[in-house]
Symmetry: D2
């Protein structure tokens, strides 16, 4: 049994020893361990330990951990079952590059998830999604109530693979699972609409894409991953769009993979990615 323990707390003397000692005493063999402190003197401490548990179950281990370690250090913590793939719903609009790439990576075994369905405000990708053996829901806009009934309780993660409709704060609250979006600019530059056109007009020499968790404030949630590509005066905004597609799909795939592997801890508006 493979487990992943994620911890956030105030940095104090003895945390690593306490956690590692507890796991060793519980018969858990640590496979990988990462930690980070914003400041060893009174900063915030983050830790991810991946381990194999030869006997026992994660629920019991968690209860013991809370009593024996977490309470003492006032930890926020989470224990994820590495053998239980997350349920990942994908939302898409008119652009297929992120969708096709995610589905292909899923088929290749790169993404440890199940995909209960793909939903879209357009019917365009039904054949492609069926070709991957997956369910497609066409939910024309406006569609928040219908989307909500599809998603709520049926997924652990929502990926906006170029879903071009803004989700309301009420929707975010009710759906209750993390949402990863890919924004087609190097945030915080060109937040909002038409980033490639605005990048062209500003004359930038590098364009980018940003994968982030969705919060109520548009394009302002915690950034998980970013990447960039060079452009020159030769690129118009439409060739930037083409170059951008390659970055968008790659950045989104990395962010989703890291989330699925429980590597991302959110702290305020920043992320720690182990």
């Amino acid at each position: 049994m493979n487990g992943r323990l994620l911890i956030t707390c105030h940095d104090r003397h003895g945390i690593v020893a306490a956690v590692a000692g507890f796991l060793a005493a519980s018969g858990a063999n640590i496979i990988s361990s990462d930690q980070h402190s914003t400041d060893p003197e009174g900063g915030e401490f983050f830790m991810r330990m991946e381990f194999n548990l030869e006997q026992g179950d994660l629920a019991s281990l968690g209860r013991a951990f809370q009593q024996e370690v977490a309470a003492q250090f006032d930890m926020r913590w989470r224990l994820a079952d590495g053998a239980a793939p997350k349920r990942m719903a994908v939302l898409v609009s008119k652009e297929d590059h992120c969708l096709v790439d995610l589905l292909w990576r899923h088929r290749r075994g790169e993404l440890d998830a199940t995909i209960p369905f793909v939903a879209s405000n357009h019917p365009d990708w039904i054949t492609d999604v069926a070709g991957f053996g997956l369910v497609y829901h066409h939910v024309p806009f406006p569609n928040e109530p219908e989307l909500l009934s599809l998603l709520k309780g049926n997924c652990d993660l929502i990926v906006l693979a170029r879903y071009m409709r803004i989700l309301s704060g009420d929707f975010l609250e009710q759906v209750g699972v993390p949402i990863i979006n890919i924004h087609h600019s190097f945030l915080p530059a060109f937040a909002g609409a038409n980033p490639y056109q605005r990048a062209y007009e500003r004359g930038v020499k590098i364009i980018g894409a940003t994968a982030h968790y969705v919060t109520e404030e548009l394009d302002a949630g915690p950034i998980i991953e970013q990447d960039v590509a060079r452009v020159s005066h030769r690129e118009h905004s439409d060739t930037m769009v083409r170059l951008g597609r390659d970055i968008e799909r790659t950045v989104l795939a990395r962010a989703v993979k890291w989330h699925l592997e429980d590597r991302v801890l959110v702290h305020g508006n920043r992320t720690v990615v182990f």
Copy 2:
């Protein structure tokens, strides 16, 4: 004799043939040629031709070019003498990385320029600059009139190698030569003060630097070059500062080199870099 002809005009049929034909008929051997059109139908056309002229002089060639070619196509054009290094004044404040790098590249022969002097609102780098055999003017702030009298008429280019004082619109107009600044962020993100601190707070995964021509609007002039470096949650704003130094000096050096080689054409708020 080496010449560089830079042309901007509305795109029309026959420009390349007219320019190349004129140069060939004038005994100029084209070494390199670059062109760009924002749109072959009615867009803006840019060209740079570098050539060797076996006999004759550039001034005569220019007069003939105006009459025989430029007038007909309503060209804005400039003819630069490739054998005449530009005079490049360097302004610096408390950070030495861009300064030292420029002076070292100049000594290596990477930058085809003369450096009439380095000026600073601080006395810190006088020994370093003297070590490169160059003149250093310490001009304490406020200093625009004194700077102006040093610079005006004595340089063809001003490089702000991390000069941390804003120059007034009046100064820019009076000094009358291009000014290249290095901004320590990936513009347009984090324009203005303290970009690394703000990048840290926003939790970006990539930082950058931007070399641009100075205009009256702060950090909004035409971008010549940008580059980036990856950061992670491990970097605080002070380690970003260290990583950023390496990008800043490289980006500034590239922009300065291209300007000195007459490779940069400004068009509105964008640049064409051949």
Copy 3:
């Protein structure tokens, strides 16, 4: 009518003027022009001009060009019809990432080509290829005669999208069209088999991929494009394989796109990519 004129010859005075003058006089409007000389004094000269021809046809233009310009400068040249997509056959073995990416880009309109068929020594990808509406030939190994009869005369370009069988010199000669291969290392490092395993053993910190024209000597043909990705001690050769897939498909797609747009000139074992 869109044409692309590609020229190689010894560098001499007046080439650009002659070519541009000829095109202008022929009613061709130059859209883009690139040139390169290995040495203005007696080096090799390369040029690509893309133009619109308002009336007339490319064949007549070519005949006139040979008489009026090419003969005089002893040029090797080629005139491609920009409106005639090339026929691109794709060969693949057990790995689908390059195949799926090429077919998807083709569907998106990124690659200006027709795909007469995909052929493979394995039956694995027949459903995927059919999903893109394309023909799939399963040609079990050994298969050179059958491949040859499929390919010869039916394509203008062959793309080895991770086709893992070596093609004989006799095959190359008979098939008579360019072949682009993607090698999963940063050539010339790790030419031959198992490059990721060997990269792991050597402890490199960066891996890469190389798209090149196939010649009789294994992995030694002219390089069209390369790209790289960082790896660390954390990567085993199998995670390198996964990271490498993203580079391979991108590098191959770029090389194929440039070839299809007649941007690649081969000179000895080197390429000029305009």
Copy 4:
């Protein structure tokens, strides 16, 4: 008191708990911790822990660690004093870019080391080195005995900042400290002499540089860091040399910094860089 504990051993159950528990019990506060296992089942385990020790000394801590932890797990380990800068001797020949960059970074406080002297088989850089307030030894080639008497016992690290003479196996053995070299190619491609010329001839699209520990076999020692830059057909081998300088100095500086911070563990011909 700041200490860095570096451990290599066979991976077994309980290592992290044992080490962290020992440090906690000894009053050491862990600042950062990194670990890596080539395989949790019987692979090789690597660990670096940086800690503050409020009282006591590192020598006593080390003796206790050997008895209480290291013996039991059959560890190879090393305890470095984070407050004791290493003595770093620099060797250079005719190219100054790596030398100047190292000395400038040292002055900026980026490199936690003392520099007892710079030595060279040429007299060229004596003024520059004096400008940084450092000692310069001109030791004309052949010079191994003289170099050896300068270096032996007087440094903890030797940096070959483009020192273009091969050091004999006998020299390496006698000098007895690690030696970091910068090779101006992307090893293992173009090992040996004239890498840029050979890269040009092979027509690569990316060049690189490699920092590695020196072993008796030329350019075959464990790689610490590599980086690359794009080149095109426009670059001749001499412009590659110029572009390469920027990569070389950056790659060497990173490798040296990581070594000085005790972040590099060598394992066979590979490195783990924490």
